[in-house]
Symmetry: C2
Subunit: 310 residues, 2 copies
């Protein structure tokens, strides 16, 4: 008998990843597509359905989706950084295409589900996961339960205003954390530094469209001063934001997931230093901030919804 | 048979209030003392014991205490704005004096307990209470449960840094929310305005020691420009901080308790305006911020611990 698998889908502002995950949280196959190549959500779903059938055949028992602003109860999304505007009934649309149980969740809450089911948070009752992708997401577990808040939108840490009147955010306001700390925010800081500073930098030779957090990280690894300063600033801002998050929810640990979380020590050291500087004495030495150990956290977390519901 | 009562004690950075509360949350008697009149904690407890015996006689079945940094599990406090330094084993000390069950809780979490047991939050699963006293406290309920966090210190909203490098806080850092929004913070803003502005103000004639949030509120009621601007700034800062809190925990409502919460429309209108301006679109029109309807919220909440444990 073929092993049963769940489809895990992680919808991001840049890439969407789809994978097959078994009940032990092992990723058996995965593939990525560009989210913005599909201006119509029906085409997006058709493409994911075709990939799922191709790699998963008939062994698929359900579909778990993580997406920005994903609302578990309603199965909808309402995101400012995805191609489809307004409230999109994602679960219903996927269900009618896949003819399988479909679960939609906020992407960061899916990441949390992954950490508590298969990751380092298995024994923890109070923790948070911060996802650093195109935007910045946050999933929170308190008293052993995922926090949804009144209407499903707890954890929008990326839209905490850290600089009133600061950088414009796609949400329509200014100074949101994710305009400084996320793959996009890191790119914006690099652009700002390239404009304001005169130092030599390998980033000056890169086509703007290719300038992303990975490229900046590679430059930082070569000692590039603009790249290093970019990550120092991102880390400083994130460290303060995490210190403030700790003061509100007091987690045992905070796990960093997503592309930008894979950056080098220049980023993580700056986060730790800033966190330590800004942490209230009550929490000193009591909160671990660490990179998530789940390699494909997004889709593994998304798939966990399927197994939990069985 | 005499009605059974619980002693509720609300320890604040300025006043400590003690009262007798029955199981329906009705306050039958209360009295206040100045917290800083008792540099030794034993004398403080002796005095409260004497008051309790005097007003409660033999009908007392237990003692519930709310105090800044109160830790429920350990029964301790470790507060920067109380006379007793370091970790104080408050529950054990009260227990040996009262020979009754004693419960210690963070004062803001006690306020939350009051709202969920006797107040407007009886049917709510996700809400917060913000207490505006000498400091600023916050209690959070998510999924119907009080959030304690990993080690009991969730909800230290007063120590979220809102102005890096800003006003010095007794916690040793700078820019904490409570240095701007609390009875003390409001006084500091008034002092700053009296120093920087030249407008006539009745506050200029008041002895500095008497300048507190109530006096400033009375001046605002008379149209005093410095007093009005003081509350406008406090409201603006609190509105932004609450918008950020909403983005993290997404409560259905936020209740304001404590002395400064009794200020007039000049304060509450500024809070609402700033909240509305700074709220992410997802939450618009969905979060009620209101003054608590519990007249003696602090001691009622503290006493609720006793009834819950029976």
């Amino acid at each position: 008998m073929q092993e049963q698998v769940a489809v895990g889908i992680d919808i991001g502002g840049t890439n969407t990843t789809i994978g097959l995950i078994n009940a032990r949280g092992e990723c058996l196959a995965q593939e990525s597509i560009k989210t913005w190549d599909y201006p119509r959500v029906e085409e997006f779903i058709d493409r994911l359905h075709a990939i799922a059938r191709e790699i998963g055949g008939d062994s698929i028992v359900g579909v778990g989706i993580g997406a920005p602003t994903g609302n578990s109860e309603r199965g909808t999304i309402h995101a400012s950084n995805l191609p489809w505007k307004g409230v999109v009934p994602l679960a219903a649309l996927f269900r009618s295409r896949f003819c399988l149980p479909v679960f939609v969740m906020n992407d960061a809450k899916a990441a949390v589900l992954g950490e508590m089911t298969y990751g380092a948070a298995r024994e923890m009752r109070d923790f948070a996961v911060v996802t650093l992708g195109t935007g910045l997401g946050c999933g929170i577990v308190l008293n052993g339960e995922v926090a949804y808040g009144h209407d499903g939108f707890a954890g929008e840490l990326g839209h905490v205003i850290v600089a009133p009147g600061g950088r414009a955010c796609k949400c329509g306001r200014r100074g949101c954390l994710e305009t400084y700390v996320s793959a996009t925010g890191i790119k914006r800081t690099a652009l700002e530094l390239l404009a304001t500073e005169v130092e030599d930098s390998s980033l000056r030779d890169i086509p703007l469209a290719s300038l992303g957090s990975r490229v900046i990280d590679e430059a930082a690894a070569q000692g590039d001063p603009i790249a290093l300063e970019t990550f120092r600033r991102a880390g400083e801002t994130l460290g303060l934001a995490l210190a403030n998050l700790v003061a509100v929810i007091h987690p045992e640990a905070i796990f960093l997931q997503g592309g930008a979380a894979r950056a080098g020590a220049w980023f993580h050291d700056a986060v730790s230093r800033s966190l330590d500087e800004n942490l209230l004495f009550l929490y000193k030495g009591k909160v671990a901030v660490q990179r998530s150990a789940l390699p494909a956290g997004g889709i593994i977390g998304a798939s966990a919804q399927v197994w939990r519901a069985r």
